[in-house]
Amino acid sequence: AQSVTQPDARVTVSEGASLQLRCKYSYSGTPYLFWYVQYPRQGLQLLLKYYSGDPVVQGVNGFEAEFSKSNSSFHLRKASVHWSDSAVYFCVLSNQGGSAKLIFGEGTKLTVSS
């Protein structure tokens, strides 16, 4: 079965600190993986996506993620967070082929404290 797990429902970090948001997936093949961000009372925006090639993918606003097939993980990282990064982050899995059927993780709410 396909699934996405974000083990941390809430994460709090200090401004300027580094960040890692964890994502584990379950999929029999090589998945397409995305990170989306949702700011308060808004829709979602794409941060980055992976579907082949270099396992480290760069996204917007200094975010990057690393795909690991052996660990079934796609963790999101940022070297130095800003207060404006406070939002909910969703790890998303897409099956290969067919229409875009996305499986969303439960989301991690990030709070950046000053």
Binding site: L46, S94, Q96, S99, A100, K101, F104, G107
Partner: protein, 114 residues
């Protein structure tokens, strides 16, 4: 540039009353369209998708229906609301229906059913 507009921004409705939510995409012909539902503080669940006018596929049965009367318009509706329909409804579009496509989300409609 493409824009996506959802209406209304928020609704408060009584149980058993009808509902109609709308979504319009401008600047992109023949987009793939999606409706997602997000419970308060929860993850996203795909409800419907459409690849062309007049054709809608249901992903999850929640006593809701969707229609695509025009190329740029996607409507979500029900004749009788349930308490469980409360939440955040998001419309999204993609260029193609493939699994690697980025989804572009609207700002959402917050529905409260009393």
């Amino acid at each position: 540039a493409q824009t996506i507009h959802q209406w209304p921004v928020a609704e408060i409705k009584a149980v058993g009353s009808p509902l109609s939510l709308g979504c319009t995409i401008k600047g992109k012909s023949s987009p793939n369209l999606y409706w997602y539902w997000q419970a308060t503080g929860g993850t996203l669940q795909q409800l419907f998708y459409s690849i062309t006018v007049g054709q809608v596929e249901s992903v999850v049965q929640l006593n809701l229906s969707a229609s695509r009367p025009k190329d740029d318009q996607f409507i979500l509706s029900t004749e009788k609301l349930l308490l469980s329909h409360s939440g955040f409804y998001l419309c999204a579009w993609s260029r193609l229906g493939s699994s690697a496509e980025t989804l572009y989300f609207g700002s959402g409609t917050r529905l409260t059913v009393l």
